[in-house]
Homo-oligomer: 488 residues x 2
């Protein structure tokens, strides 16, 4: 049985009402009261004394609305969406600084495109949402942004190479739900198509460094090359037909540790001495140079090592950094060279926040051409967002920076508010004709930094009163000077 | 039979190859050659001489890729998406200046939410894309952003009123396709929930004025009030149960003219003198005040007139403008007060680019509460985008503002390019190791405004050569001064 944690939000008044029942020992806790109300809603159970029944009914009503969203999806209220847009705007800005231009493709694709032999692989296809249009055409919701990119390359032979694009978009997977796994999530992809030179692979490392530095996160970019991994597996004496299975096991090193992986490999029929050689070569310590030195000795001539050395020297020239990790595997079998995974330092988010690699065969096979070189990386907005929330930063419930409170000056206040907007100030105004204290309470609860009062007396004098909502400080300011004061 | 116009893009080389066949009178035109190739692909037909067959096969291959997108959807390549993001960024900025904060909701919703009695209406539901998750739950793709807003209000009783949100998002309708009608399109909505005062209705007019002024379009915002329309229909002696049908006919005035509407109304069983009275009252000329004066005489006391007078006076105070048009109807039956439609002046786009109104009943009925006041407007990105394309502005194929061409200085050039990016310059660099003339050709074809050359000699002198791609002018600039020169 798959368990699921639901976040239920109740109005404060109702929570207080439930608390009273807890105080009277009717329920051991507020959450038990909610659980009881839901149980009664689903399976029913006996009558309740009137006052308790009334509260339970209220809980049921509020809970019912909490369940109206499709399973595995989330709404982002302004206080959440403001943060998410800050993150995507930093990513967008960084992508553009590195010469990537925006692309947009539809959320629905033809099934035959999404399920084509060289697309996402069997695992992903099991989780594809399928639908039909009225003409009974088979369609699906996209599960990544790479297949649409391959389609766009195929459909647009006029595109100049290298084609550097970014795409920030929602993707869908109809899989099991757990903490941090949703059915709709956002990928932010950058890819270079049509460039087999390692300059592209290095540029992506510099871009990832720049993006997270702007976002204020310390990161560790791990890098490896599939040709090195293949070389290591082969040099351990493991047959080529076991390669993919072995790499899938190596991918579990980080999560489950050396012993578990050894056991799994033995289960796949790999000889004990091959397993030992393999892991001794994979799990090595030291600087990038140290590790490369050791590997050169055990592997000899290897194209992957040459490539990674080139990437590392370019990354270094660009003042960026990454960690060479020969045990980095990445599950997907379509990678052909460089692979990346990026982890946050000092965060509870231990999964990779940004991963990718070089896939020189996919696009070509997809569009029926010779190989088309491509390398790219995908930033997971939802994980980066979760990491953002760990910081104890002030929550903004609105983008508004000043709230105008008219005191008997409805028309003039709207006029004044409009002036502020024309000057680029994000200004809001009381639309409901509320009193001063209600308006102040509203501005405070929304976290708006400044309030402007405009009464008849102020109007006559061509002034307004500005209140700093944090310090409580108030001052009279000439109308013409308000913009200047607010922009400080 | 529904016809469809497909845009087929072919590579230049192939077009030249086809042209040769046209020159030899094999085909009357290039497009006839393409049609023949498609016909042969679909229904086959006889053999062709070898050289012609080869070209036809090439056409078939390129055409095949053109058909890979789902029907009724479009890709936006960088040169298109750059423009679309310019538009949405102006809209977003304007919405925030007016105190609206961003909201994001999932693209998939539960069917029972989308089909609830008070949602989009039968017409829209016919065009809803349906799907299921693995738990066999019935889901649909959202067809607007209003139903999700109502759901969010229901699920979040803690939200402070008025709740001012904007949402820019894709919506889906599985309907017939024609020029300008797609199955996936973008709506940009602003709504004020929880405010019945006309200040909200007026603010929206000011916001629409500001948005289009920033976008560089002259517009005409038409405004009316459903209570006026109802009053006019009633005062013409038409029974209340015919109201909705009559309003649907009035909605066609703009498109089909007075005579057609009269005919349709007669067909709906409305008496001839009622029709004449109705149209005489609806179709009136003059200033807003003139029209209101005339209507007051024929209607007497009317809540809609009071409301629109208040809106107009506030709009005027805010320095914005709109045209009162008592014949404006808007099809949807859920509007309860103010209605808006915005048209572009001096554009071939004659349909409304931005419409909406007040709907005080929907949200309340949807969430099972007393009425919840709400007013909003929706900008149609796709139409605004089409209007943008009418202007003969320079097409940018990339966001890049400078392209660095290394001449034997791969490493140092990447280093230099990275410096530019750190300074906020959108810089790209040759990743392929191409020669100078190929690089210049590439930068030119992408419309990149400046190119920087960095050779060994320049490197020694700490300088680079900058070329203005438009004028062809070149000058040597110290590396430290490049940012300054480029930012000019």
């Amino acid at each position: 049985m798959v368990m699921e944690t639901l976040q239920i939000r109740l109005t404060r008044g109702l929570v207080e009402e439930i608390q009273k029942l807890v105080d009277k020992d009717v329920y051991p806790s507020t959450s038990e009261a909610v659980r009881d109300a839901v149980r009664r809603m689903v399976i029913g159970s006996g009558e309740l004394p009137k006052p308790i029944e009334k509260t339970v009914e209220k809980i049921q009503k509020e809970v019912k609305f909490q369940l109206l969203g499709a399973r595995g999806t989330r709404d982002f209220l302004p206080e959440q969406q403001i943060v998410r847009e800050q993150i995507t705007s930093v990513l967008r800005e960084t992508f553009e600084l590195y010469g990537y231009s925006p692309l947009d493709t539809p959320l629905i694709e033809r099934s035959d495109v999404l399920t084509s032999k060289y697309a996402g692989g069997a695992e992903i296809l099991k989780e594809m949402f399928s639908l039909q249009d009225q003409g009974k055409r088979s369609l699906g919701l996209r599960y990544d942004l790479t297949v649409p990119l391959a389609r766009v390359i195929g459909m647009n032979p006029q595109l100049k190479m290298p084609f550097k694009r970014y795409q920030i978009g929602k993707v869908f997977r109809d899989g099991p739900i757990s903490l941090g796994r949703y059915r709709q999530f956002v990928q932010c992809d950058v890819d270079v198509v049509g460039c087999s030179a390692m300059s592209a692979d290095a540029e992506i490392v510099a871009l990832v460094n720049a993006a997270f530095s702007k976002l204020g996160f310390k990161i560790d970019i791990r890098i490896n090359n599939r040709k090195i991994l293949n070389g290591i597996v082969a040099s351990a004496g493991i047959a080529a037909d076991k390669m993919d299975g072995v790499i899938l096991s190596i991918d579990k090193l980080e999560k489950f540790g050396v012993d578990a992986v050894k056991k799994e490999l033995a289960g796949k029929g790999i000889a004990q001495d091959a397993i030992d050689t393999l892991l001794d070569t994979l799990v090595i310590e030291g600087s990038n140079d140290d590790k490369l030195g050791k590997l050169k000795k055990s592997l000899g001539e290897n194209e992957g090592i040459t490539e990674i050395e080139e990437v590392l020297s370019l990354v270094d020239a660009m003042g960026a950094s990454c960690t060479f990790d020969p045990s980095l595997a990445r599950g997907l079998s379509y990678y052909t060279g460089t692979i990346y995974e990026t982890f946050l330092k000092d965060s509870k988010i231990t999964s990779a926040v940004c991963s990718g690699g070089r896939y020189d065969e996919i696009i070509g096979q997809f569009i029926g051409k010779e190989s088309v070189a491509a390398v790219g990386i995908s930033f997971g907005l939802d994980r980066i967002y979760d990491a953002f929330l760990e910081r104890d930063e002030v929550v903004q419930k609105t983008v508004t920076s000043v709230f105008v409170i008219p005191i008997g000056t409805a028309l003039e206040s709207m006029q004044f508010c409009e002036r502020l907007r024309k000057e680029g100030i994000k200004a809001d105004i009381d639309l409901l004709g509320r009193g001063i204290s209600k308006n102040l309470k509203f501005a405070n609860s929304m976290g708006i930094p400044s309030v402007v009062f405009l009464g008849q007396q102020e109007l006559k004098e061509g002034k307004v009163k500005i209140r700093d909502m944090k310090s409580g400080e108030e001052k009279m300011v000439a109308m013409d000077a308000v913009v200047e004061v607010l922009k400080k």
